[in-house]
């Protein structure tokens, strides 16, 4: 089961900062599911994961809520 992070209502750069903090608590290959409402977070999580070697397994939007599933770099 992925760890859940609610970043709804937060604006740049808070969703990324919270995600980083949450990822630091996880083991390699663990997953983190993030919900956010900041439209800018789509491109930002893309870049954040690419840079950190994490896998962005899911990036979707439903009714203004963006969901990301990140698998921590091994």
């Amino acid at each position: 089961m992925p760890t859940e992070l609610d970043a709804k209502g937060m604006n740049c750069p808070m969703p990324i900062l919270k995600a980083k903090k949450a990822l630091m608590q996880l083991e390699a290959n663990d997953t983190l599911r993030i919900e956010a409402t900041d439209p800018g977070s789509v491109a930002d999580f893309d870049a954040f994961c690419r840079n950190g070697g994490h896998t962005l397994e899911e990036s979707s939007e439903d009714g203004g809520v963006y969901t990301y599933l990140i698998r921590k770099a091994s």
Partner: protein, 168 residues
């Protein structure tokens, strides 16, 4: 404090912070915290008015409507430009600053305090400029505890070994 280049393979960034207003506090702290979250080692050098951002209390930070043609506040259902003369009215900048703080809160933008705390938490190195402290007669106890005090050479040593150097 560790003055040597990062021993790991991580990238490094320095930012010279020269502005001490509420709005201009954002770009350096947003970039610094985001860079730290992306495993970049960050040094921030606060000089002249930028040193205001290291004061223990940040409630005094204001925006200025003077000489700021890019400023458009969402008010009364439209976007209000602030003519320069507004700034001449006593209390106008304080009022605009309060409005800005309310807007920041309403839009879910982090406060400067929150971002600065995040910077400290993620080991961003904060350096206060010694010369500025002397110039404005500020004491070490006016500034937050988590900072290093240094001068231009302290900054230059870091900048010379850094991947990214910004002046804000």
């Amino acid at each position: 404090m560790d003055n040597t280049v990062s021993i790991e393979n991580s990238k490094t960034m320095t930012i010279i912070v020269t502005k001490g207003s509420l709005d201009w506090a954002y770009p350096p702290f947003i970039l610094a915290t985001t860079a730290a979250a992306m495993d970049v080692k960050v040094d921030m050098f606060f000089t002249f008015y930028g040193l205001q951002l290291l004061k223990k209390d940040l409630d005094h930070l204001q925006i200025s409507t003077l000489g700021n043609p890019g400023m458009e506040m969402p008010m009364f259902g439209m976007h209000m430009k602030m003519p320069n003369i507004v700034s001449a009215i006593p209390g106008a900048d304080a009022l605009c600053s309060t409005m800005m703080r309310n807007l920041i809160k309403k839009k879910g933008v982090a406060s400067v305090e929150e971002l600065r705390e995040a910077a400290v938490d993620s080991d961003v190195n904060l350096i206060g400029c010694q010369m500025t402290m002397g110039l404005f007669e500020w004491e070490k106890h006016d500034l937050m505890d988590e900072i290093e005090i240094g001068g231009a050479a302290t900054y230059m040593e870091k900048a010379l070994n850094s991947d990214i150097n910004l002046f804000i």
